[in-house]
Amino acid sequence: MSVLPALDVGLALLVVGVAAWTIAARNLFASVVGYVAYGLLLALVWVRLYAPDVALTEAAVGGGVTGVLLVTAGKRLDALASAEVGVPPGRALKILAGALAALVAGALAWVVLTLPSPAPSLAPAAAEAAAGPGAGLGNPITAVLISYRSFDTMLEKVVLILAVLGVWSVGADAAWGAAPAPLRKVRPDGAMILLAQFLAPVGLLIGVHIFWVGADAPGGAFQGGALLAAMGMVAMMARLAEPPRIDSRKLRLALVAGPAVFLIVGVAGLALADNLFAYPQNFAKPLILFIEAFMVLSIAVALPMLVCGPPNGSPK
């Protein structure tokens, strides 16, 4: 296997090169496009690190949804052509910042190269515990997310809700309650509608598949939810669906469902399994899938709402 190292080095150089380009590019949009390419390449790096779960998340969220967010933002800023930008810093600050960045990168590289060997790992403990009676999962990542570090995962869903509310809160007072502006102003071409009509259902299928196999194979609620979110955005970009009104009760419930169900099951654990956020031995796996299903819903709704932005127009 002498080809593999060469491939890895090439990929690494490419990632670093594209990253440097996004920082150095003069044109704002060029650097945004560079970032989208960068997200794609990162997914490949994650596969090389034996992290298909992360690669999926990175492809869907880091590259895909973030890419759309940034492309949209870049184009909207271009439309405000008069927008006045601050002055770039002077040479002294640039040199200082460069020295600081080089120092941090150098220290980091050195530390990473000298990480202890053999490396400490929770892998055996996690795999054993994941397959055990308290969880019954074949994918240890899902077990970590929903069982051992469930508290993190639940709170991180609350962070998503706060982010949605934060995005809404920068809108105008008069617009409160209305829907965000559609992702596309002009009525789309037939070809785009056709594309979305095909992609969205296939993507729905794939997203649900990835969520469903996630208990035992790579995949899970985050990855499935992120793909569903992307498909929702595809439908919105073809105007097959419109962003909902932000005061819609259904929308609010969908956003809250994931963390709320998680919280309720977690508290019920005190009665059912003697511990908060513990799962009763015989029901662990179905309960985990139950929680995950609602999390998929919340993620699939929250990400597109974050991209759509604050409410727009009049609520009437």
Binding site: D8, A12, V15, V16, A19, I23, L28, S31, V32, Y38, L42, V45, R48, L49, A51, D53, V54, V61, G62, T66, L69, L70, A73, G74, R76, A83, E84, G86, V87, P88, P89, A97, G98, L100, A101, A105, G106, L108, A109, V112, L113, L115, A119, S121, A123, P124, A127, V144, L145, D152, E156, V159, A163, G166, V170, A226, L303, V307, G309, P310
Partner: protein, 112 residues
């Protein structure tokens, strides 16, 4: 060079580039891009820690990988909030600068 070491070097370089952009670029959207570069560099460090933690019979340590998944979603949420603020700022004032001097003068009324 095995992939973990290589990825570690990539991660360090990404953190460096991103940090430089975060400090030096005057445009807030570009600062946000730079932040995302730093973020992915940090996630890569988690990734190599996970890969190095590949104990007997396991391809990776799941705990750091799970943390990266959490982190990616949080970083996206932060980007969305920042984009909303930037767009609103540009629309409301015609400026997309964070330079404090631009905001101490009381002349923003006529901008847009």
């Amino acid at each position: 060079m095995t992939p973990p070491i290589l990825a570690g070097l990539v991660g360090a370089a990404l953190v460096g580039f991103g940090l430089y952009g975060l400090i030096c670029d005057p445009h807030p959207l570009r600062k946000l891009l730079a932040f995302n570069l730093v973020g992915s560099g940090v996630f890569l460090v988690f990734g190599i820690v996970a890969r190095r933690g590949a104990a007997a019979g396991f391809a990776f340590d799941p705990v750091p990988q799970a943390m990266v998944i959490t982190g990616i979603v949080v970083a996206f949420a932060a980007s969305a909030l920042a984009v909303a603020l930037i767009l609103r700022l540009a629309a409301a004032s015609g400026k997309v600068t964070l330079d404090p001097r631009a905001w101490t003068k009381r002349d923003d009324g006529g901008a847009r």
